[in-house]
């Protein structure tokens, strides 16, 4: 008997299944984010130090979390592809990279925008900010390597290896606030010993985080479906070229 993952890993099954759940996930993401925004702007109190600007947090923090979570997912997919040689794992890794890069970019931009009023500058070179920037470069490296190789299956394997090597950076980013002096807030939610943040702010934050995660899942499914279709079209085209070639060669000989 096949396990659930095995059944899901069949591209055809995946297309059917993702096709039917995609609208629901997308809808849920929209609803949760809308509710989260409502909570963030109308219910949550302004920060006693930073005032209204603190509301950027409800976008910034989910983006920052996803930036790291997506990389973990890319690495897991890469592992799955290298070990089990399953094409779907590669599709997943390939399509998650640009999304992860986008979330990282958003975390950087929202952070910078927030930094201007609170720290008086768009950018400081502390460990946390720099390490997120480095994560962004890792994503860029994955994309650059993949695009630099013409042979698709080769490109997949090489990027998978790089993704696995890069995973050593994740703990460094996560714990960068803990060593060295930094302007950035230390973790107050995802920390050993439970969150230290006020519930009035924690709830909207968690709702937004959930909404963003759902949004990521929806976009990832959509991108994966596109990629699978693209590969099918390519295979068909190749087969046609092949046929034409074969008949031509036969005629030539």
């Amino acid at each position: 008997m096949q396990t659930l993952t095995q059944r899901l890993a069949n591209p055809t099954r995946f297309m059917e299944l993702s096709g039917s759940v995609l609208p629901w996930i997308a809808g849920a993401a929209a609803v949760v984010i809308a509710y989260g925004l409502y909570l963030a702007f109308y219910v949550a109190p302004p920060d006693y130090q930073q005032g209204e600007t603190a509301r950027i947090m409800y976008i910034h923090v989910p983006c920052a979390w996803l930036a790291m979570a997506v990389y973990a997912m890319v690495a897991m997919s890469a592992f799955g592809f290298l070990v089990f040689r399953h094409p779907l794992a590669d599709v997943s890794a390939k399509t998650a990279v640009p999304l992860g890069a986008a979330f990282t970019f958003l975390a950087l931009v929202t952070g910078s925008l927030w930094g201007r009023p609170t720290w008086g500058t768009y950018w400081v070179w502390d460990a946390r900010l720099t390490s997120v920037l480095i994560l962004f470069f890792l994503y860029l490296g994955l994309m650059a390597l993949r695009s630099s190789i013409e042979d698709e299956s080769l490109a997949s394997k090489l990027t998978a290896i790089l993704a696995l090597v890069g995973i050593v950076m994740l703990p460094i980013i996560k714990f960068s606030v803990d060593f060295g002096n930094t302007l950035h807030q230390p973790a107050s939610v995802l920390r050993v010993g439970g969150p230290t943040i006020d519930t009035a702010m924690l709830t909207p934050l968690l709702v937004m985080a959930l909404g963003f995660t759902l949004m990521f899942v929806a976009m990832h499914f959509k991108a994966m479906r596109n990629e699978i279709l693209r590969r099918r079209v390519r295979a068909l085209q190749l087969a046609q070229v092949e046929k034409a070639q074969a008949s031509q060669l036969a005629a030539a000989e």
């Binding site: 500058t121 950018w123 400081v124 720099t130 480095i134 470069f137 860029l140 650059a144 190789i149």
Partner: protein, 221 residues
């Protein structure tokens, strides 16, 4: 002329095909700038003070290192031999390839500098001037670099050896580029520095192809 354009077009095409030359040079540029604060500490005053110099030097390195295989890849697969037959002189071949390098690398690098300036806390007022000096100065970078690439055609050390040969030749460009940006010399001094920079670029565009072609010829035996 059509041969010149064909070569220019092919080189630009290859620079796109072969794994985004552009993206890589830009990525290198950004990474070098990112590493600096890690090495120097995060003192923003310090950083904004050294920013223009750092940006210029990192640009020189990124442009230079992407030049490495401009000729040697053509030499290794026999293309250079064929390019040397026909009526277009080798000097024009060098010109086309250096021009392609400027378009595909020099210009984009110059245009990225402001973004990096932001991260180094560089005064926004300096951006237009910085970009202008870079746009005016990078032709010299590409054409002088081509001489280095030609000289190291058959050397296995490629990239680094070129750097060694060519970086000293970049000193005038760097000095006048910095002089123009820093505006140490006042407004009239700035425009004088820009003029000199332009003269440097023009001179290298005219003279370097001859040196590079001569270097290629002796190595094509």
């Amino acid at each position: 002329m059509s041969a010149f354009l064909a070569l220019l077009k092919r080189d630009l095409m290859l620079s796109v095909r072969q794994g985004g030359a552009l993206g890589t040079a830009l990525g290198f540029y950004m990474l070098v700038v990112t590493l600096l604060p890690l090495g120097l500490g995060q003192d923003l005053n310090l950083l904004s003070r050294i920013a223009p110099g750092i940006l210029w030097i990192a640009l020189l390195l990124a442009a230079l290192l992407s030049l490495g295989r401009v000729f040697s890849s053509d030499h290794e697969d026999g293309t250079l031999d064929v390019l040397a037959t026909g009526r277009m002189p080798l000097e024009m071949v060098v010109g086309a390839k250096a021009l392609a390098h400027w378009i595909s690398t020099g210009i984009p690098l110059a245009l990225t500098a402001p973004v990096l300036g932001l991260m180094l806390n560089l005064d926004i007022a300096v951006y237009p001037l910085l970009m202008a000096t870079m746009l005016v100065g990078t032709p010299a970078v590409s054409f002088i670099g081509a001489v280095g690439a030609a000289l190291t055609l058959r050397s296995y050390r490629g990239g680094l050896l070129i750097a060694l040969l060519v970086l000293p030749l970049y000193v005038p460009t760097l000095i006048f580029g910095m002089a123009a940006v820093n505006g140490l010399l006042g407004v009239s001094g700035t425009s004088a520095a820009m003029l000199i920079l332009a003269a440097l670029s023009l001179t290298s565009v005219v003279l370097c192809p001859f040196a590079a072609a001569a270097a290629l010829r002796v190595q094509m035996q």
